[in-house]
Amino acid sequence: MVAALCRLLLRYAVLGVAVVLLNFLIPRLLPGDPLSFGSGEGTGPAVPLSGAAKAELQAYYHLDEPLSRQLVAYLGDLARGDLGHSIERPAPVRDLILDRLPWTAGLLSVSLLLATVTGTALGLLAGWAPGRRLDRLLVSVTGALAAIPEFLVAIGFLLVFAVGFGWFPLFGGESVFADYGDGRTGAVRRASNIATHLILPAATLVVVGVSAFVLLARDTAAGLRHAPWIVVARAKGLPARQVAWRHVLPNMALPILSFFGLRFGALLGGALVVERVFGVPGLGLLAYQALRARDYPLLQALFLLSSLAMLVANLAVDVISLRLLARRGVLHG
């Protein structure tokens, strides 16, 4: 167990170093100079920098030094938590990101949790009796849903529930210029206002995320039906609910968990796109605004942050599955 854990941590440490290195190298090795605006096509600010301003920026990002010195400076900045200064806005990148992070983190965690739980439940229902009508319905519906890009689902929800029925607000994370009042009631009112704004984005992510979980859980449950311990549990007369809770679900945990790690990255990208549709002021909208203004430091920091988040999520998944495997006795045998 300990040896396996050490190997796992070592692997992720290497991957983490590689991600940081890649984040350092991508802007420096790709063709194109971030400081010469207006050279390529696009929507960037087409005002060229003056020579002095360009030199100053180059010195700030150590771009006038050899690559090895740049790397040392970059790592030093990173260790101090300095992610650079935004080109478009008068603020350090770190502050901009910390300002927006709660929105995306909240949206992502709620929708991931809901997608996993409902996906597992629906998949179990479908896999319990494969080939039945419920199973065929769920499989075809989720298969079609998995085929639609997030932003189309988002647009569809927006059209139906916000434009058509008018149940939800069209845009934003909370009402602008709203007066919530003081104290507890004010906080509750603000929270409910934010919740009504976030229901549609979260629902989009859940709908997009749930389909893959349904298909996986369905196949796992269908495969487990004839495992010897399930046959015994049924044979001794255990009610179906207990068979599901005590014997099927625990055995579905491992594949679902490892799949969770895989889907994390996809849903992260989905959250970025969905935020643009609904105008949620999270990291996705920040990324959208950054790429319109060609705000390279901001985009680079967002990439670093999201890839590290993905690594951490996968590490957590791997550690938990290691524990599950150890409890099963796989590592001892």
Binding site: L15, A18, V19, L22, I26, P27, L30, G32, P34, G40, E41, G42, T43, P130, G131, G143, A144, A147, I148, P149, E150, L152, I155, L158, L159, A162, V163, L216, D219, T220, A222, G223, R225, H226, V231, R234, A235, G237, P255, G265, A266, L268, G269, G270, L272, V273, R276, V277, A287, Y288, L291, R294, Y296, L299, L302, F303, S306, S307, A309, M310
Partner: protein
């Protein structure tokens, strides 16, 4: 020149399951789309880039799907968008497939190449797609060539692993050993004996990559990373959503709905086609599945534990039956 146009549909037709109607509808739709995109200049009523009408007019006879905020014809844009989507899909699928197979074959057969190639594959798989594309495309400058390059060069890792796992099985096959004993070189064996074994997953890879490319192109264009010069369904949506008061005015139906349905139907068509292909191939491999359906093995709610031999197989499924259940 004309041979791929005849051969490719024929090959696809031979792979699709005869009974799945959806797959045939999807195939017909894709064929129609290819025709539309080839004949786009003569089919489109107007030049999609020129202002040919009053901005934001509702659908009329001269503009069947209305005009956008610049007075461009939406139907013509939709038709030229099909062309953009299919070009991106085809080139990305080509690049990505070649790379997947090269890396997968090399890493699977040549032990020395395995560690570095798999390290690169794992690293690329560990990165989040959308933020990576955003960063790289913004740095390179958004254009269609760059979009295709980025999507093609970054989408091979998943199938490189699949191909490698197939190669690992084929590598120890007796016919490979025999060829080796006869003195064949590594490249010859890979080309002659290992490559054919991996071609089973080729249709799946192509369809999945086409779907991915349409998906990714639309998403990135929607985020504003399409090229300013070419029209695609994603950029149409991006222009529509650039208007903050889009849904406050009655113009959104003909600005939002046509590209939305176009993207959705193209992706659904590829999915249904791939379903048809997989079903046909699954049928070839395990035809008897339907007869020995595992549904028959259902334990009664309150089983009577008798020791008569007739009761036993109901509770303990035989090996043959268990092999029919799908496992991951």
């Amino acid at each position: 020149m004309s041979s791929p146009f005849v051969f490719l549909p024929a090959a696809v037709c031979s792979m699709v399951d005869r009974r799945s109607t959806l797959a045939w509808i999807a195939g017909g739709f894709l064929l129609a789309l290819v025709t539309v995109s080839v004949t786009a200049p003569s089919l489109a009523p107007h030049d999609p880039r020129l202002t040919t009408g009053i901005p934001l007019t509702p659908p009329s006879r001269s503009h069947p799907l209305g005009t956008n905020d610049l007075g461009q014809d939406v139907l013509s844009q939709l038709i030229f968008g099909a062309r953009a989507a299919l070009i991106v899909a085809a080139v990305v699928a080509g690049i990505s497939t070649v790379l997947s197979w090269t890396v997968g074959l090399m890493a699977g057969y040549f032990r020395r190449a395995e560690a570095p190639l798999m390290a690169v594959t794992d690293l690329l798989l560990a990165l989040p797609n959308i933020p990576l594309y955003l960063l790289v495309l913004t740095l390179l400058g958004p254009s269609r060539r760059n979009l295709i390059l980025v999507l093609g060069l970054l989408s091979w890792p998943a199938f490189a692993r699949v191909v490698r796992s197939v190669v690992l099985q084929a590598r120890s096959a007796p016919y490979v050993e025999a060829s080796k004993a006869l003195g064949a070189s590594g490249l010859f064996i890979v080309h002659r004996h290992v490559l054919p074994a991996t071609l089973d997953v080729l249709p799946t890879k192509i369809v999945l990559t086409v779907r991915f490319a349409v998906f990714a192109e639309a998403t990135l264009a929607f985020l504003g990373l399409g090229s300013a010069g070419t029209i695609s369904w994603g950029t149409m949506l991006n222009w529509a959503f650039a208007d903050p008061l889009l849904f406050e005015r009655p113009v959104w139906p003909w600005l939002v709905l046509p590209p939305t349905f176009a993207i959705m139907s193209l992706i659904l068509a590829t999915v249904w086609l791939s379903d048809g292909i997989t079903r046909a191939r699954a049928g070839v491999i395990r035809r008897p599945r339907r007869n020995t359906s595992s549904q028959k093995v259902v334990a009664p709610r309150r089983p009577r534990l008798t020791l008569t031999p007739a009761a036993r197989p109901r509770f303990a499924p035989s090996g043959r039956r268990r092999s029919c259940t799908r496992r991951r």
